[in-house]
């Protein structure tokens, strides 16, 4: 039988598919960072904590209120988005006139607080979340057994990513957004409420993180530190892609997921650092990132 570097092709397809699923999380999270960065010019360090928040809200909805997964898909991102709006109104807004690094420090502090509070309440062992009936079980694709919950992650994230891209790049609302990114004063002069737009954009970016959290709830352990290490990888993804374009961050997210998936097969020891190594290479060759514009 034909084999590629000692791995049968069926197994390879399976691994690539799994890589794509992990890439979905990178894509949604880096997309959220890029949306926020585009308008607010800050790096949202709280993103990992907000991803965790999405998963916990999903868990709480089911266990305290009996709300099922499908409603959570809608409610949890909105809830997380609202907390984001509050943070923006209370804190982040007051820092726009300062160096952007203060935004980074502030959101880092907020991340510590959020994580700490959940650690205090829920411990770190992790909570179980029962996948809804439609998502438990799976299909045998011939080359692998694909659980429905994983297939759903790819579909949902692809839809959300494309919808976001469409709204920002192809609609009038998106046009305002892009214009405000370039020149907020001018857009304000046309009667657009720019501060409100900034608040809602932050809320939306955060809601994306919350959405990723909902997707993660049935497949990963829900615990307060689930976002901590992930966010550092996503930062590297963002550096590789450059935050210049929406499509760029989506493509980079999925692409790096695939590469990481391949590393897990051929050199598993290196799979934790492969993205960082790629980041170093990109910095050597194209410091602005693959899709970045030099500032």
């Amino acid at each position: 039988m034909f084999e590629l570097l000692g791995i049968p092709p069926q197994a390879l397809f399976g691994q690539l598919l799994l890589g794509l699923i992990n890439g979905s999380f990178y894509a949604i999270l880096s997309l959220g960072l890029a949306v926020i960065f585009g308008l607010l010019n800050i790096i949202n360090f709280t993103h990992g904590a907000q991803y965790m928040l999405g998963a916990f809200v999903t868990w709480m909805l089911l266990n305290y209120l009996g709300v099922n997964y499908w409603w959570s898909l809608l409610i949890a991102p909105v809830a997380v988005g609202i907390t984001g709006v509050i943070l923006e109104r209370l804190f982040i807004r007051r820092l726009y006139h300062l160096d952007h690094l203060y935004g980074l420090l502030l959101t880092f502090g907020l991340a510590l607080i959020t994580t700490g509070i959940f650690k205090q309440i829920f411990g770190v062992s992790g909570l179980p979340y029962q996948a809804p009936p439609l998502l438990s079980g799976g299909h045998n694709l011939g080359f692998m057994y694909l659980p429905n919950s994983r297939a759903w992650v790819i579909i949902a994230s692809a839809v959300v990513c494309l919808a976001t891209w469409f709204v920002i790049e192809k609609t009038k609302l998106g046009a305002y957004l892009r214009a405000a990114t370039e020149n907020p004063t001018l857009v304000g002069a046309f009667g657009v409420n720019v501060p409100l737009m900034i608040t809602l954009t932050y809320g939306f970016g955060v809601a994306l993180a919350g959405f990723a959290g909902v997707l993660a709830a049935p497949i990963y352990a829900i615990n307060p530190v689930m976002g901590e290490n992930l966010i550092i990888v996503v930062f590297a993804v963002v550096v590789i892609g450059g935050m210049g374009s929406i499509l760029g961050s989506i493509v980079t997210g999925f692409g790096l997921g695939l590469i990481e998936g391949l590393t897990r097969v051929f050199y598993p020891e290196g799979s934790a650092v492969v993205i960082f190594v790629i980041m170093a290479l990109v910095l050597l060759v194209k410091p602005a990132g693959l899709f970045g514009r030099t500032a």
Binding site: G109, L110, Q120
Partner: protein, 327 residues
Amino acid sequence: MTATTEATGGPVVAQQTAGGMPAHHIAIFAGLLVLLIAAPFFFYPIFIMKILCFALFACAFNLLLGYGGLLSFGHAAYFGMASYVCAHAAKVWGLTPELAIICGTLVAGVLGFLIGSLAIRRQGIYFAMITLAFAQMVYFFSLQAEFTGGEDGIQAVPRGHLFGLIDLRSQESLYFLVLAIAFAGILLIYRIIHSPFGQVLKAIRENEPRAISLGYRVNRYKLAVFVLSATLAGLAGATKAIVFQLASLTDVYWTMSGEVVLMTLLGGMGTVFGPIVGAAVIVTMQNYLATFGAWVTIIQGLIFVVSVMLFREGIVGVISKWTRKPL
């Protein structure tokens, strides 16, 4: 970082007196020295040594952030790696403590050069994210490498004999060694800040395009200050390994990078004495709150938020404003 402009931009402008250190700085350094010589008679010496190590670490970090305007979110890499190398040199190679500390410090410098030359290709928040990502890589390396002992770290590091003569198992000898290292390191940083090199750094921080147009090779200056900062952070980490007889993953993890940012921010970035105060406050806080678990994280987060929102000059920055003297 332009924010420091705001902190120092008022009437308080660091002035370089022709004869070197201004009188009130000499007085503060002397006062500190007296306090620190007396401290072990009143406080637990190992606790003071911990503060000293972190004070040096924070000062080294402040050199990069406060004067170079570069926010590194990965300084734990140099601190921790130096600590590992020093511990390994003292335990496995059997080197005397001063040689072990030098080994650790040099390795931190080399690591700083490697990471720095890549990281300075980007500015601002990208710089922060890149340093963070590389530090995470160093963390994974430390976790997997044989010589670091993985999760166990390097334990039971011998304190040995300084220059082969002075037995450091005596708490007093060790204390004065640590005091000497930390003080020398901090004075060196002071000297760097007030040298022509330091002035160019400030110029770059305030207005990079202008510095370029004046003919300065900005990237060389940035790399130089990055390497210096990493090396001195390494000195702090290596010393810590000898004090605690231990090198562990805690020192390379990103939370450590966050802590040193916090110390500098709280004490007052771009001030000479701020990081020392910040380190003392945070280490003391961690010491007394150790039993409260996750509350330490929550309180650190709160300090971050409060510092950024209301207190950007930091403790020493505020005092400096009141007394109208640069500190």
